[in-house]
Amino acid sequence: MYPVSPRVVCDCLAPLEAAYDVDGWRKALSREVIARRAPTLWRYREMLPLDHEPVTSLNVGFTPLVKAQRLAAALGCKSLWIKNDAVNCPTLSFKDRVVAVAINKAKEFGMETIACASTGNLANAVAAHAAAAGLEAYVFIPDDLEEAKIYGSAVYGAHLVRIRGNYDAVNRLCTQIAGEYGWGFVNVNLRAFYCEGSKTLGFEVAEQLGWRIPPVVVVPIASGSLITRIGKAFSELAEAGLLEPTPFKLIGAQATGCSPISVAVKQGGTAIEPQRPSTIARSLAIGNPADGYYAAKAILDSGGTAGDVSDEEIREGMKLLAETEGIFGETAAGVTIAVARKLLREGKMNPDEETVLCVTGNGLKTLDALVGHLDIGVTIRPRLEEFEAQVLRTAGSPAIAAN
């Protein structure tokens, strides 16, 4: 056990885990107490690693859990939900959760600068939350990131450092820098606290289902942290006496172009072989995932599985989600939907089991993945005959047939 401090790893180099006063949870929390609190992730604050009340990033979380009937029909399953973090506040991804916790911890430590290694969504979140908290921010990103994610970080006044290389190279540099300058790297020396923010997605899903654990959850995987924390969230809610412990399966979703965890799980093991990422799902492009072993273990221990899909299947997944549910998720969402569709078709997911699909980022940030792949309509002069000829006739409209 270590005292609470910014620290990268244990002396044995293993990751650090926050330890809690579980008896304190049972005394302080009930469903009624939580229900009376504001609809943000801070309604579960006793189960997060802060020593004081949060002082910044106060309006994060409690995103919609959408009953996805049209998508369920398209996929041939009975009961499907979308946990929609594409509308998380303020930067439209689940990274608002982890940064909300990390930045409050950085404040508790008296840090004045926060930083991160990012595939994009985290960069946006660190930049925005730091701006609101009055902290300086440095974000380190691969130099080929989507424009929306670059400008979506720069606009907040953060210092951007674009690294020639992929995310794994960015992360390598940040691991060397962290601890040298007194900065709080949210996913390096604040990682033990930061990761805990991911649990709130699981807390919310359970509460929104009426305080029960869904039988199946499909989660996109990059570092592997989110999927392990969703499992942890369900277990902790049971420990806190807030729900009955029931079995659940974790399903991991990756792009085939970066699938080290999916490959391990499909082989029935936890040993992760690093890969060189090549996928349009850049937010998931971590070839050497820090929590790979833990993610694979969590999936296998739960009786779940993993799958991976091609870039074309990812685009199809994005379109399917948008066209059936009106939700525009980023490429990682396309991965989640497409993997669910694939595993259902292959009989590796049970269509009769109630399933939650996690949409973790907004499609407006990854428009480039769709350029050239959508029908963006026709351009006509503002004349009625052109409208009838090029729009109604082309579409086979009954309105034109009647004329």
Binding site: T175, Q176, A271, A290
Partner: protein, 91 residues
Amino acid sequence: MPIQVRIPAAISKGSHGSTTVEMKAANLSELLTALESMYPGVRKTICDDAGKLNRFINVFVNDEDIRFLGGEKCQFQDGDEVLLIPSIAGG
């Protein structure tokens, strides 16, 4: 075979970040032996019971993950820069 090795504070137990030292090692096995003589007990920290590097440490040779260079079979060249880094970061 002199190589430059950067060792994180988590291994060197230094209070001022990472340390760079020159060592003679032709491959990973020799590097681990040299490290053990410099930091007694370190092998126990970074290797598993079978003597293999554990999953909590990554090794890079001139910025490339050693696993892409053949892992234990990788032969170091004069002047190579070898970097040891805890793997639990990022994401």
